[in-house]
Symmetry: D2
Subunit: 284 residues, 4 copies
């Protein structure tokens, strides 16, 4: 009873996940960026515009936030979705946002261009089914201690609902090492490429928990064959209500893109950043 | 923003979780047993009666089953709850059963005396909140790679809804070792006792994945101070639709109880098995 | 190319490891105790006499200490061995002590009744061979991330030199959990008993790194079928040069023995502590 | 009592490890290659010449092999060192080879240009000291479950003997994931660069245990900032006595180099492979 729909044996060609004009899993590198959580309307719109200028292809931002502590900021919920809607309208960029509760699926699916299933819900099998049924592309984060096989089995749950638009997202696994928040399993990229036809992207921000590691890990991911990156960018990381320590400023993010472009080209991957991105100082 | 309601610092005395006549967290050892999943009405009722005869205090049985593969048996759902209801009526024993979806909370809470949150949902925070709101005792399984602190934080989510009736259940963590399905973290028992006032029980069946290890691990758990055990017993493990390899037969389970009683007494814990349990041959 | 000499398939009966009058692996529980390191002649002799009074069957104490930092106390080396010799003469008890270097094997074997191979050297294969060649019993600690199979393979290295006197010692494995120093793999006890004929003992002091956990873990180990315990006892844990936080005082150790005796008897294991041990106040 | 000599705080500039003309830790990417074990004189010389032609800067090959089973090939020992000597003479390339026993240090140091300390001996502290005393550069593999801090502490043992020529080698850590033999901790590269001035290289062959993953992991390592690569190349992987499954053929290795060069250049690292390497068909 292994995975079949997700298997490379069943389908030889790479699956292309299409989100508006964006295609994930083809020749291009897809960069998704934004703050961990949607915290404030003005700030979100501002950073969204900056990211758009920098050539980012999709926005991220959590309206519903899974937090270890019940006393931590839990997200703006519907209000967060409204802000995402506005950001979409203003920037024209699609958004990816997380759903945590089957009861919110419809609500989230109305706003989200891509529905995110978070690490802690990777084996929330009913949520996987419901996400699959929306027909929207699903970004499936790997569970903290999920094997590659279990992760593909989770994708199978989505696909078994008739939805083949699944993006696998490696975000670090839990190991004994404490220097980083999690251990980025870089081998998962060639493993998924070998075992499955689904696209795979990497979230270096959550994997390391340290903004200073985002650049080297991003370059490593691209070099290893990742189809895209999911990166946290916050206008003022020090004031972030969630995961500020791993967020880049827009300025650092612009530097990162400049570092990634030559690596992407070195492995034959096209970038949508045609020219050297420049941070528009007047906006920042 | 640590856990407060779950902390021993906030409340010095042990919390007693009361389920009908059963008290978990006091002087007595509580033994909960039954098959992993409710698969068939006649079989479930039969094994429930056998367990009742053996002195078991609570029945277990999953109606909704979290399975790694979408192609594996997913549980009988509502029909399973009906069977549990009938087993309760016939045996007079309370039941613990798992909920996986916030939309099923009411349904499950109507039948369950104790609501189980499974390992894969330990950080399904909305489910924790909803389980807390039912007011029913919650059996909270430790996540596969949850630290003790994260596990207590999950309990805090339940307690923050005004529900202090939480039973912590250690069921093995994920490590590099492959000989056992998971690694029973026996140290979690004294750790929870030290850090919290909540009762802690152990599931040696899921921890090891091997029925031959259930007896030594059960004795170890009791010796280390566990308030109870959650054990899989199936009338015909070879025919089980789920986790047969780790299930005891009623006969093996009777032997297990005979082995546990002296260990429980050696650590000053009372057993509700007043006399040597005998498997009623006519029933089996 | 699996293990053969260490396998239960090759030899059905339990191996009895004999150290003078002490037999490890039979009906009796063997308790080995002492400070982590030999630090001072007078203190070591004093605690050795206390342990003798309490009925301990073997002394432990490191003369050569493997330390993570080159700036930490590295052991008294030959001077430590001299102190162990004197303690043996005065108490009449055998000693177990660690060897770290093939060049010291002869020196250590002259003093040690049991040669200890530490966790960090479990796959120091040449040291295993040399320890095997001495003909002395070998106490083989499990490596921090060694699987049970690799651990038995390490025993096979010793046995392949014609030495069947190997004692397996579970001392905790490295996992993601940080509450304890290591995670005691209690399942390793029934696993070794099932796979091998070799005796298995448990070191709850190194496993937890917390003296308050030594009692519950010791009881769990005995209940799960361990043939013995290796426990750190230090006259003044606060002043210990090594691992003070996990050491019991002689008084706490006497309490521990009182707690262990009924558990040992509950699982059919005889104790050499015939009467309730009493700490001789005049000696302490 | 942390590491001091190995710390970036103590020494701001990168340490350059010099092995003849080869400099590790500077602007160039250093590629070390060869079979896991020296198995046969003619084969080793042949592959050494092929690697030389391909522009490899240093040869690897084990004369003493740490093997999990005592029944596995243990290496040719002194005879293996003789073959390495001959390969050095013929190719003019320096060699790195492992030492496992303090008694062999002199012997190994006479032949080796770089002394390798293997993963299983990373905390064989006496071996670290003796390797340090030789004054030869030391290639220090990370232990299977060593934290980055413990690994730097092991380097400190070498450096504390007055030897600053230490090369850190990440080779995968042990986690729950079983798809790969170990989990390459790609984050260790920026971590070591941040915490220490020592050079860091990556062994993708041992990390993955799969030759098909060597190319993507090598590119990832270079993109993340590694100073070099240690790669297994065997003339006939299927016939290898050790680790054949993770070895590249010389042809695959030539392809790998062609893939690495543009990635190295993309991150500003110079390659000593001036032109596209071509496998000399007449030699192969």
């Amino acid at each position: 009873m292994g995975y079949m729909l997700a298997s490379r044996k069943t389908k030889k060609d790479n699956t292309l996940v299409k989100v508006g004009d964006v295609v994930i899993g083809g020749d291009h590198l897809t960069v998704i960026a934004g703050p961990c959580a949607v915290e404030d309307r003005d700030r979100y719109i501002k950073v969204a515009l900056q990211l758009k200028k920098l050539g980012v292809q999709m926005l991220r931002g959590g309206a519903f936030k899974p937090r270890t502590s019940p006393y931590a900021f839990q997200g703006l919920a519907e209000k967060g979705l409204d802000i995402l809607e506005e950001a979409k309208r203003i920037t024209g960029l699609p958004v990816v946002t997380e759903v945590m509760d089957t009861r919110d699926i419809e609500l989230v699916a109305r706003c989200a261009d891509v529905i995110q299933i978070g690490s802690r819900n990777m084996q929330n099998f009913i949520l996987l089914k419901e996400a699959g049924r929306t027909g929207k592309p699903v970004l499936l984060k790997r569970g903290l201690s999920a094997t590659i096989e279990e992760w593909l089995m989770a994708a199978e749950y989505v696909m078994n609902e008739g939805n083949s638009q699944v993006i696998m997202c490696e975000r670090g696994i839990r190991t004994f090492e404490t220097h980083t928040r999690n251990t980025l399993d870089i081998s998962a990229i060639p493993a998924i490429k070998h075992l499955s036809h689904l696209p795979v992207i990497v979230d270096p921000s959550h994997a390391s928990g340290k903004w200073g590691m985002v650049a080297p890990l991003s370059k490593a991911a691209v070099a290893a064959g990742a189809d895209g990156l999911l990166i946290e960018v916050h206008p003022c990381p020090d004031e972030a209500l969630c995961d500020g320590g791993q967020s880049l400023t827009p300025g650092n993010f612009a530097d990162l893109i400049n570092e990634i472009i030559p690596v992407a080209e070195a492995v034959g991957r096209k970038c949508l950043f045609k020219t050297k991105p420049l941070v528009n100082k007047s906006i920042m």
